[in-house]
Symmetry: C2
Subunit: 347 residues, 2 copies
């Protein structure tokens, strides 16, 4: 097949800001009765009636949070939405609306932005959220994305970081460390590509972990699962910076301590084999890797029988009195203080 | 006075992301009963009961939307909030909460961010809005700001862009063109400063227009004023890109035409003299200058006696049938089609 290297690219200046917004959002349909007005006015109008509204926002910068040399723009659009929805789900709330703002330099043609928005659209469709606003502008360098997500919940349902009590069980959804392992694979392939651009890497053994990095899924299902199991989480947070950082947040806000058991941390076999290959400690990867977008929450001990054996949920520890501190109990039964500070974008 | 050139500056990496957010937001207090939970969890929690929620977002990029060589960071913080509140007021709604995200490169010490947030705090205090969330991260180049504002309104009060009818009067708050004239003064002083850094410019004749550029005020008062006058606007928009662009938006969404009268456009005397000095046409400046953050709205003709003579409001034209098009009626009574496309950040 002969590739047409001269495919027409559309300069963003041909459309102007308003034309661009109209063009990029024309295929978005509104799904929520709470969305009274979406894009196209000074502000979106939302109707929450007797429910509580929940709001969260994130900023993603090229070269800091993502690398377009291996992150396809459609995936970036999808992931940008996931990062925010994950925060809404971490309140035990239902995500209902998002706003997406992007700034791009002149090197991006319209087609690149269309790719990005197709990822946003896919996320909106699968996760049943309405795109209700945003801003599109130029940047002096690179691309950046700002997403704000809005959700709703009944008052009694909302899970704050501050509700954990001593003896509550600490539960995590899914498995951990995959996104970080996927990043290592992608970084290695990027270096290989620099040396030999004709090399076609075989990423098939790494499918799961590469997907965890490039196309993470937020845990929309956990709220419904817990409702079905009749379990009300006492506190909740999402795992964006790594398990240790999130545990410290829960302990700080709830004023409790925690014992985390190393042998309970859920790891996918692909993560274990990638850790062996890259000579990384799998526990450390789960503790500090980040970007898994799983949910970490606490439940009352009496609810243990309800979640026991559920393939989506793993009890990894229990909360203690604050004075006992925050510890990892290793496989060899050693108590190691958890002090990791999560990912610091300034260092 | 001897200036201490070696003042201690605090590197952002010393605090980490969470420490930084905590530090920057520790002096913000919550003012709204609808703010159930502000900063410090995965998402803010808002309670709107039987009111409608309104949401708007904007992205501001250094080198595109602001120039730190003459924009003090405190003013930037203040203006970033104003830009968004203006969108909420343009829905005839009350602003209640904001989220503020910033990304900065390593060249910014903590003290710079404190300056920025002191401007945000001042805006929150004066405009009675709660800061409820945000994201703070590093950028590879320069500074960028993303603000999302949330407001509330009763259903019947909300003014969309789409409600204008033929024969409605077109009304503008305050006066126009000041922010653009202020920008011209600042750009000129920047060039002078480059040539002679010791030159101390006398900006006192330009105080009003420089303030319009550096420290704009959003029209929070108009909603209350119209309520007091018992006038319900049929459509509304804020003037961020210039009068002509906003008129075209109203006409487009409302499917009407418009006659705008050149001699009715409200101009401050400082704007008229600056236009003479800079050899600019004052009508063109009002039409295309932008950043005035005044409100443009339509009212039913029967309400004219209620607003007549009000010092805050000026009738500048009237809406017509769509087939009549959108025109400026010049001082010499010539009909000139309005085609300006507003400010295009990509060109």
């Amino acid at each position: 097949m002969i590739e047409d290297k001269n495919q027409e690219k559309t300069g963003l200046d041909q459309l102007g800001e308003f034309g661009l917004i109209k063009h990029l959002t024309k295929n978005f349909t509104l799904q929520h009765s709470s969305t009274l007005k979406g894009i196209g006015d000074d502000a979106a109008v939302l109707d929450f009636k007797d429910k509580k509204a929940v709001i969260s926002t994130d900023l993603l910068i090229e070269g800091v949070h993502f690398d377009l040399s291996y992150m396809p723009l459609k995936h970036l659009g999808y992931k940008s939405v996931m990062v925010n929805l994950s925060d809404i789900y971490a309140m035990n709330a239902t995500a209902t609306q998002i706003t997406v703002s992007i700034a791009v330099s002149n090197r991006f043609p319209l087609e690149a932005l269309e790719e990005f928005y197709s990822g946003v659209a896919l996320a909106c469709e699968i996760y049943k959220v309405d795109l209700v606003g945003g801003d599109t502008t130029s940047s002096t360098k690179g691309m950046l994305v700002s997403v704000t997500a809005i959700g709703e919940a009944k008052e009694g349902e909302i899970a704050y970081r501050s509700g954990a009590k001593p003896n509550d069980l600490l539960v995590v959804s899914g498995d951990l460390g995959g996104a970080y392992c996927g990043l290592q694979v992608l970084e290695r392939e990027k270096e290989v590509f620099k040396v030999n651009p004709n090399n076609q890497p075989d990423l098939s053994p790494y499918t799961y972990i590469v997907e965890r990095q490039l196309k993470p899924e937020a845990r929309r299902d956990i709220k419904g699962l817990l409702e079905m199991l009749e379990v009300l989480p006492t506190s909740m947070i999402d795992i964006s910076d790594g398990l240790s950082s999130e545990i410290l947040h829960l302990c700080d806000k709830s004023e409790v301590g925690c014992n985390l058991f190393e042998d309970k941390i859920p790891l996918d076999p692909t993560v274990i084999s990638a850790c062996e290959e890259f000579k990384m400690d799998s526990t450390l990867v789960a503790l500090s890797g980040g970007e898994d977008y799983e949910l970490l929450f606490t439940i009352d001990q009496k609810d243990f029988p309800k979640i026991k054996g559920n393939p989506h949920l793993t009890v990894v520890g229990h909360m203690t009195d604050k004075s006992e501190g925050v510890h990892l109990i290793s496989r060899s039964n050693t108590k190691i203080p958890i002090t990791a500070q999560g990912w610091n974008s300034f260092s």
